[in-house]
Symmetry: C2
Subunit: 338 residues, 2 copies
DNA sequence: GCTGGCACTCACGATGACAGAGTGCCAGGA
DNA sequence: TCCTGGCACTCTGTCATCGTGAGTGCCAGC
């Protein structure tokens, strides 16, 4: 259907439009790109591309702009991932190497990503359930008050207060702590529920209530959707959205404030490989005029969480994808070292 | 200088302008408010108010709008703090009571405040240094790897990884943990440095290095400016900023992304009582056209942190102040209970 | 299947007229 | 001394008009 040249025309339109933010016409195209044909020919090609739904006119007698479908084709077939420049690569290292703490890593990553892509960055904390248990700690804060601390191999630390049904002695506490750890350390959090199921049975009846309470708090902490956390940054980049920006920006800001929406957004991304969702491909209505580029990251082969950026559909896809991928890889490395 | 009636005129101007977002003229004023005088008289009063710098004209033959100085006078002498309605009060309770966790409390507070005031909300986590030590925990994650966990009476939990210079035995660990806690529990974090100063001396020389490392990590965690954390929300309310909003919004978004700026902003607020900073009274340039309403909150008399909102200078001061104060009080209560 | 030419469309900017809101000032009255 | 009504003036915002230019679609010819 689409000859090589027509694809070339589409690519040129996307590139020009991303650069100039203005509808691009046939004449300008032939001037800026060596297509080897006349404007009239390009016009014919454009008419075809428009029929097929890849480009559109804001109004008669204006240039064309790519549609979501056009960007989709561009991303899938016409563009690669642009590798970062050496200075950019170095910037990533410099910026992330100073982190002292998982919060710090995530915070720096968000800022870095926002800066590199000049868009809104979202970084999910390593998911508990997909991580491995490094340690589980139980502290006694008051006679009938415990604190449960979960530590993952990715450096994430989660804590919960527990009000015990009955006072819990130091010996019982040490006992529970030891048994708990011997069962779960080194295992995946997702498997923890099974591994601790029968634990209350092995305790004296007076302690059994407390042990059950502790375990149920532990399990609650692991519930997906609840345990997910994320950080967001670079919202001021939304101001570069375009001329029609007052209209566009509000729903986007609103969507970005809803953790649930963002988590769903990242959740829709594939577990492996990069996911690009363009305009209306995003389920959330407020994000219908944005594109999301997301990718999983992790210390090993498996992704423990995702990160990505949100920007106007009119974005530099190759560059953005390159930055997102590079950052994700390096964050993975850092987590592996910690 | 300023007669009672002139102040009344200023109040009317502020109220109308806040409501309509449009310069207010003498005729409209006399119609909407029972000033008991004619437009011409109001015009004369306005001329005086303008001479004194309380109001200004965007251009000749337009109505007047209050200046920063005008708002200042309004806040100081013409308006009180508007108490919340019962439904609003109830909403605060309902919204905050479900929190399970300090993160949760802070998160809910931010959302609540943003919703009540329809502005950008900022909530600082309880400062470590101003809180009291509830517990200090040391965990051994690997032979030469410790985790330090600090727990405050306000429910804040902070953790740090520590790489020890030498392996550290379980006995030494228990010893250090016990001595540390016996010295600091119940004391203010600010006093901790003095209290632990001489601790390394009482340890065997082989452990002394590790003990020092632990202590220095502990002290680093307490450094002001570093230990401060905060959460922000309601940025989508910036879209209600006004017509000239594309220009205004960018610097504000940028400022809001800089934790340092925000911390300084809250830091400028008085420790007790409510602080209102109007327009140019804010040191940060990007916030020159915003006002900040901030107040300290705490579980007792003393403030452990601050919270507040950022909005256009053209804001409903009495209402905003009422909401900020009410939320701060209730958050204080919640912290005291936890 | 490509090209040049041509008529047509439409957004955008400049211009000018006009209405409306608001002001400042002044002279007269309480 | 202070308030008021009246009046001339200023300025913005809006609307209609018009010309320009970019861009299109179509067609006939190569």
């Amino acid at each position: 259907m689409l000859s090589e040249r027509r694809l070339e025309v589409l690519r040129a339109i996307v590139q020009d439009y991303v650069g100039t933010e203005e509808p691009v016409g046939s004449k300008a195209l032939t001037e800026r790109h060596k297509l080897g044909v006349s404007p009239a020919t390009v016009r014919n090609d454009m008419a075809v591309l428009e029929d097929e739904g890849f480009i559109a006119q804001p109004h008669t007698s204006a240039g064309r702009i790519p549609t979501d479908k056009g960007y989709r084709l561009f991303v899938d077939r016409l563009a690669g991932v642009k590798p970062l420049s050496t200075p950019e690569r170095r910037a990533i290292h410099n910026f992330l190497d100073g982190a002292v703490d998982l919060d710090d890593v995530v915070g720096r990553t968000v800022r870095l990503l926002a800066q590199l892509t000049r868009q809104v960055a979202i970084v999910q904390y390593p998911s508990l359930t997909r991580s491995t248990v490094r340690h589980v700690e139980l502290l006694s804060l008051a006679p009938a008050r415990l604190m449960l601390v979960l530590i993952t191999d990715t450096g994430r630390v989660e804590q919960r207060m527990i009000d015990c049904p009955a006072p819990f002695g130091e010996t019982s506490l040490a006992d529970l702590r030891a048994r708990l750890n011997s069962r779960v350390v080194g295992r995946r959090f997702a498997d923890v529920p099974q591994l601790v199921q029968d634990l209350p049975e092995s305790f004296e009846s007076e302690d059994r209530g407390t042990v059950s309470t502790v375990l149920s708090t532990l399990l609650e902490t692991l519930v997906e959707e609840t345990e997910e956390r994320l950080m967001i940054g670079g919202t001021s980049n939304l101001t570069r959205f375009g001329h029609d920006f007052p209209v566009m920006i509000r729903p986007v800001l609103e969507a970005l404030e809803e953790q649930v929406v963002l988590l769903k957004l990242l959740g829709e991304a594939k577990d492996s490989g990069m996911t690009v969702r363009i305009g209306h491909e995003n389920a959330h209505e407020g994000l219908n005029s944005t594109s999301v580029v997301a990718v999983g990251y992790g210390s090993g082969d498996e992704a423990v969480a995702k990160l990505g950026v949100v920007g106007p559909t009119r974005m530099d896809y190759p560059g953005t994808m390159g930055a997102v991928r590079a950052v994700a890889r390096y964050v993975g490395q850092i987590l592996a070292e910690s």
